[in-house]
């Protein structure tokens, strides 16, 4: 049993060691939460597919430090994200703002969904069901190509 517990605790500590290291002191819990919220929404410019919370690049460490300083100085989330965006562009924001350059990103899923919806409604609407037998009959001559 002792061995088992030891093994478990070793495994757990290994997990902890992977998390990002520095611990900052904050004046209150809201600040700390804000800090973690912001660093998990900023993308590391150096290492592309990580947030600065995940990344161990020295640039991410610097940016975390700046976020921490600004949170402690009482800046709002908007101000801090704006500061980063001014320097590194929309790229650093994991939640990019809506603007003409990325309309396709925001609206293409909606447009594709609408197209599918329209096609389904048209095709389903063409069917008639015989009320006596319950048979589905396709009025659409093109949809029963198999029978042709």
């Amino acid at each position: 049993m002792k061995k088992f517990l030891l093994a478990i605790s070793l495994l757990l500590s290994a997990q902890l060691a992977e998390a990002v290291i520095e611990t900052y002191d904050f004046d209150n819990e809201e600040q700390e939460q804000l800090y973690y919220e912001i660093i998990s929404e900023l993308r590391c410019p150096k290492c592309q597919n990580q947030t600065i919370a995940d990344s161990d690049a020295s640039l991410s460490r610097d940016l975390r430090f700046i976020v921490q300083q600004k949170v402690k100085a009482g800046e709002t989330k908007g101000q801090i994200l704006n500061y980063m965006q001014e320097r590194y562009g929309d790229f650093v924001l994991y939640d990019p703002p809506l603007q003409p350059a990325n309309y396709i990103l925001w609206f293409s899923p909606l447009i594709i969904f609408l197209i599918i919806l329209v096609v389904v409604v048209i095709r389903v609407g063409r069917r008639t069901i015989d009320p006596e037998t319950g048979d589905v009959k396709m009025n659409d001559t093109h949809s029963n190509e198999k029978g042709e």
Binding site: P45, K46, D62, L63, R87, Y88, G89, F91, E145
Partner: protein, 188 residues
Amino acid sequence: MANKKILITSIPIVIFTALVVVFWFSLGSDPTELPSQRIGKQVPEFNLSNLHNPEEAFTHQDLPKKPFLLNVWATWCVSCHVEHPYLVKFANQYPIPIIGLNYKDVRVDALEYLNKGGDPYLFSIADEDGTLGIDLGVYGAPETFIVDGDGVIHHRYVGVIDERVWNTVILPKVKELDPSLVDVEATQ
């Protein structure tokens, strides 16, 4: 109804062609290259020490009053070691000032490096905490900013400047800003 059949069978072909076009153009672009947010803006204000003399400080007012290059480098940056001999050569060959921004480096290491490899810089700014680097949006040294005589940033090049980059990117852009360079030839 043959028309409709043709239409339906052509959909996959159209989608395939569109994908080929999209992928073809994505092949040419480097996803790690980010557009600079500072183009068309002034070099951010700074007050940082001279790399060669920690007592002396530089501010943005010390920047040259003619078009120049601002080169961000560090001794820990491997690509900067590749770039360095080129910069020394271009600094000797061209009347274009190059300002060094020694980014998050150890002063003695940086000075020893310049002593050994040659110093291509008109002057060197020591950005030990990386504050100016972050204000400039630096994310990977070496980075080179092309700045005009009024301190406005016109272009940023991320990566090593070798002969090809100098001749095709840097020199043409500096020439645009500085008419006195019109007769300067590209390097061989």
